[in-house]
């Protein structure tokens, strides 16, 4: 092979990756910079007026949105992780029908958050399944109101329930994959050397699951901060969240700069959270 041909061969992988890479850098990098510009340079001059707007304008629901988003995240994620861990361990054991059950449990991953919201609306509305069931069982006499501005706390609950139903599968799938990768012999060895089921979980399974747990938490938390469709369908603007406000400011109020700020805030939170998780979870070893 001639020298020039060999040199060319070296560049092949880069050439193959280049189109995708440039596309990504353009479509993500450029809008990012553009967002900064829109947020901090409205009308071309540097100005804090968009940030000002967030805190002072009567239209702005920023503080509420921020608080709500964080509240939702803190409520939903720990419960999801607990359920997902339980499910992952359950499905790690072989039982007849496991594969079919697996496909079913993972179904919520395939639908959009809007669809999830609509589904739970049919469950929780005043003529919905849940209420009718309870009434007909004689447990309540009036339907429980989940929706409407005056029932905001119920709307919050509805959102939590829907998210638990919809997004636990994300955490589950990652943990399940991680669990499957733990060779059975590691656990059997512990069994032979005297560990009870709990001891096996605590000393062997859990530590080896840490990388998966880290990945699952990062992904889930980051997505949780972007929560939008479910909230919008079930509560509209009764419960403002960061992404919802971004949408509202952009599409209804045409305040592009403000919307950009919201988006940037979400991005910033994502980076910070990602960093925190990585630091928290230093997994010291690599599975051989």
């Amino acid at each position: 092979m001639s020298k020039s041909r060999r040199d060319f061969e070296r560049y092949i992988p880069y050439l193959l990756i280049l189109p995708a890479l440039s596309y990504l850098i353009f479509f993500i990098g450029y809008p990012l910079i553009q967002a900064l510009y829109l947020a901090l340079f409205p009308d071309g001059r540097f100005s804090m007026e968009n940030i000002d707007y967030l805190f002072t304008s009567p239209f702005s629901r920023f503080e509420e949105a921020f608080a709500n988003t964080i509240l939702l995240v803190i409520t939903i994620i720990p419960i999801q992780v607990a359920i997902a861990i339980g499910l992952a361990m359950l499905f790690n054991m072989k039982f007849p029908g496991r594969n079919t059950a697996l496909y079913m449990v993972v179904l919520p991953l395939t639908i959009s958050d809007v669809a999830a919201g609509l589904i739970w609306y049919s469950l929780l509305s005043s003529n919905g399944f849940f209420n009718k069931l309870l009434i007909n069982l004689g447990l309540i006499s009036e339907p429980i109101q989940f929706f409407g501005y005056q029932f905001r706390h119920m709307e919050f609950l509805a959102i939590v329930l829907t998210e638990l139903w919809r997004a636990t599968a994300i955490v589950f799938v990652i943990l399940f994959a991680g669990l499957q990768m733990i060779s059975r012999e590691y656990i059997e060895a512990a069994e032979v050397f005297g560990a009870t089921v709990w001891q096996r979980i605590r000393y062997i399974v859990f530590p080896m699951l840490k990388p998966s747990l880290q990945a699952a938490l990062i992904i889930r938390t980051l997505f949780a901060f972007q929560i939008f469709g479910v909230v919008w369908i079930l509560a509209g603007r009764d419960i403002p969240v960061l992404a919802g406000e971004a949408y509202y400011e952009q599409v209804e109020l045409k305040h592009t700069g403000v919307a950009a700020i919201y988006a940037l805030i979400i991005a910033l939170i994502s980076i910070v959270i990602g960093y925190i998780y990585i630091k928290l979870f230093k997994a010291k070893y690599l599975e051989v």
Partner: protein, 366 residues
């Protein structure tokens, strides 16, 4: 230190019968090897003894104690797994200490015992390392150290040397055996490598298709195989087998193999008396056949003649494939010898090492 008794162990997986009625008595302090090809049920038997599997039928006793349905925890067994199963997220020290930690042994004692085990296995400098920093051989020693640190009643080993390279394997064989003699624990060792089994085992249980074919010392297995399978499985190159018809005369017995005949003394008549005019399978090991020009006396031998078909020069031995018109006999000669392919050769068979098997039951007659 206990003796182990297996009575009528049967274990099925779905429709497959992995272990089909195993009876075995293992003596206190003995190093017994379960030897057999893949799929013969040896690992399953080991796992039943460990408590990782429960048998469908049968009983396991440690001494007088029935342990058949006890979880591994309550049996005081230790195991070295084929892939070592060293936990990657713990240091070598923690790996070895784990069984003691679970048993809630006080910390100073754990320290003493871990250091003792590490010393025995010569891995004392590695105690603070992580498994991914160790070589395969080192990891294997950690697995063994972990297994002996609790001073178990029974030590189980599932092909622990199969993942090591050849030189290391030979070295570890003698080390493991010496270790076992030192700590005197009843050891059950599974392997498919017959050389390993022969060099390490006090006794060997040869298994095939879920059953034990023969139990005995390496000498017994080698010199007196009780059936065709054991005769063919042990010994390298494999024993020569050929069919022959038995003819009982007044003065002697003739085994007619077509290409040649073998004449036996009358004293063997009592074994073969039911086989007159019947076909049997005869076996003779390659190392028990000698070229005529290399032996001093022909007493107690029978001759066959053939042409040299193929020669394997191994340096320490020479293996000659002799073509006797209708079959090939393999002859193993000590030392380096030259034979020309196509040349005629006469070989003597040591009649004292001849084996005769019933064709249908495959059991040994002589």
């Amino acid at each position: 230190m206990v003796d182990v008794h297996l009575k009528n162990i049967v274990k099925k997986f779905g429709k497959t019968i992995a272990v089909n009625g195993i009876n075995l008595d293992i003596n206190d302090g003995e190093f017994i090897v379960l030897l057999g090809p893949s799929g013969c049920g040896k690992t399953t038997t080991l796992r039943v003894i460990a408590g990782l599997e429960k048998p469908d039928e049968g009983h396991v006793f440690f001494g007088d104690r029935e342990v058949t349905y006890l979880p591994p925890r309550e049996r005081n067994v230790s195991m070295v797994f084929q892939s070592y199963a060293i936990w990657p997220h713990m240091t070598v020290y923690d790996n070895i200490a784990f069984p003691l930690k679970i048993k809630k042994v006080p910390r100073e004692e754990i320290d003493k015992k871990v250091k003792w085990a590490a010393e025995l296995l010569q891995i004392s400098e590695l105690l603070n390392r992580y498994p991914h920093q160790l070589s395969g051989g080192q990891r294997q020693r950690v697995a063994v150290a972990r297994a002996i640190v609790v001073e178990p009643d029974v030590l189980l080993m599932d092909e622990p040397l199969s993942n090591l390279d050849a030189l290391l394997r030979v070295k570890m064989r003698s080390e493991l055996k010496k270790l076992q003699r030192r700590i005197k624990v009843t050891t059950i060792y599974v392997t498919h490598d017959q050389v390993e089994a022969m060099t390490m085992g006090d006794r060997i249980a040869v298994m095939n298709a879920g059953k034990i074919m023969q139990v005995g010392t390496s000498e017994e297995i080698y010199l007196k195989p009780s059936n065709l399978f054991v005769a063919g499985f042990v010994g390298s190159p494999q024993m020569n087998f050929f069919e022959a018809t038995v003819r009982i005369n007044d003065s002697n017995i003739i085994l007619d193999a077509g290409d040649f005949t073998i004449t036996l003394e009358k004293e063997y008549a009592k074994f073969l008396k039911n086989y007159d005019e019947k076909t049997v399978i005869v076996g003779i090991r390659p190392e028990h056949m000698y070229p005529l020009d290399l032996i001093a006396s022909k007493k107690g031998t029978s001759e066959i003649e053939g042409t040299v078909d193929f020669v394997e020069a191994l340096g320490s031995d020479t293996i000659v494939h002799v073509n006797t018109r209708n079959m090939i006999m393999v002859v193993k000669i000590s030392g380096s010898h030259r034979y020309k392919i196509g040349s005629k050769i006469k070989v003597a068979l040591d009649l004292r090492q001849l084996h005769v098997f019933d064709k249908s039951t495959e059991k040994a007659i002589i």
